[in-house]
């Protein structure tokens, strides 16, 4: 059981390093999947918005990480 839990933990660690980044990405993907198709906006612009949201999530996360790690 312990070995299986350790293996599961290592598998999750492949994709999740910083929990807040993972949650933000998953939330944005959920919005893009569920809400974007029903919006009355050109699909091409929504695709661009998907990228812009991801870039913003990464930027905010990095700035927060830079601030907190430098203060330590």
């Amino acid at each position: 059981m312990k070995r299986m839990l350790a293996a599961a933990r290592e598998l999750v660690a492949l994709f999740v390093d910083d929990g807040s980044l993972a949650i933000a990405v998953l939330a944005w993907v959920a919005i893009a999947t569920l809400a974007f198709p029903v919006l009355p906006i050109d699909s091409g612009w929504l695709a661009v918005a998907l990228f812009a949201g991801l870039a913003l999530i990464l930027t905010k996360n990095l700035l927060r990480a830079a601030r907190s790690r430098t203060r330590r």
Binding site: L14, V25, V29, A32, T33, F36, L46, L62, L63
Partner: protein, 251 residues
């Protein structure tokens, strides 16, 4: 007919990502070989490579049976999580906020651990050495398998992506045999930075496709996404570096 808008970045991403992973695995296999002998080191690595090959053969075609939009969405999301995780770490390392990975230090730590571990034999095999070699090749190899399947299977480019990963394995094995020491001079963070950009671009593209969005320029938008993530990443390295210097001055 190969679609090079997909195939070029796919093969490159598989090659570079696999190169990084195999370099990390080589460090531990070399330590096992030098401290506990080459027989268990190579047996553990070989066993892990065989297991990984079976995984690729089993999982790759299985994905073809799931509806394409679902695969694109799930694999795209996993690629995004994986790629952005690598990119985030590579940016923080490039900005000097977290230390760079040091293969020489990793080799020394593993060699020290192995030289202090007891020798347990089973049917003439040093089980500690075999399992250390097996575990590292499996751990790093699982990431390679995920990348090859994720970027290969969704776009029907499993063979080119697999060839990219195979080429990386051959390069690392050849360098390992020739040098007999950790490949500390390979610019690992630069490679991780580039792979993070490529995987994030593929992830965003497939999430969009899976969500039913029409990318401007269709498949060619992958190249625009690569350029977009690269521009964001390079800007963030400079910004994080400045922010880190500013905060150090204030404190």
């Amino acid at each position: 007919m190969i679609d090079w808008a997909h195939a070029g970045p796919s093969v490159l991403a598989a090659f570079l990502a696999s190169l990084v992973e195999f370099v990390e695995a080589l460090t531990v296999v070399l330590a096992v070989g030098a401290i506990r002998g080459w027989r268990p080191a190579l047996a553990g690595a070989g066993l892990a490579l065989a297991t990984l090959a079976i995984l690729v053969i089993a999982l790759g075609p299985a994905l073809a049976r799931i509806p394409l939009a679902t695969v694109q969405l799930v694999v795209g999301t996993l690629l995004l999580l994986f790629g952005l995780r690598w990119l985030r770490k590579a940016i923080l390392r490039a900005a000097g906020i977290i230390p760079l990975h040091d293969e020489t230090a990793a080799y020394a730590a593993e060699a020290d651990l192995l030289s202090h571990s007891p020798r347990r034999f089973l049917a003439g095999w040093d089980t500690v050495a075999v399992s250390a070699s097996f575990k590292i090749v499996m751990l790093e190899g699982i990431e390679v398998v995920f990348i090859v399947i994720a970027i290969g299977a969704v776009s029907g480019l499993l063979v080119p992506a697999g060839l990219g990963a195979g080429a990386a394995l051959l390069v690392v094995i050849a360098l390992g045999i020739a040098l007999h020491r950790p490949l500390a001079r390979i610019p690992e963070n630069t490679l991780k930075f580039l792979v993070g950009v490529l995987l994030s671009a593929f992830g965003a593209f497939w999430v969009g496709e899976g969500a039913g969005l029409d990318w401007p320029g269709a498949d060619w938008s992958i190249l625009a996404l690569i350029a977009g993530f690269l521009a964001v990443a390079l800007t963030m390295v400079a910004l994080c570096r400045v922010r880190s210097i500013d905060l150090e001055r204030l404190t």
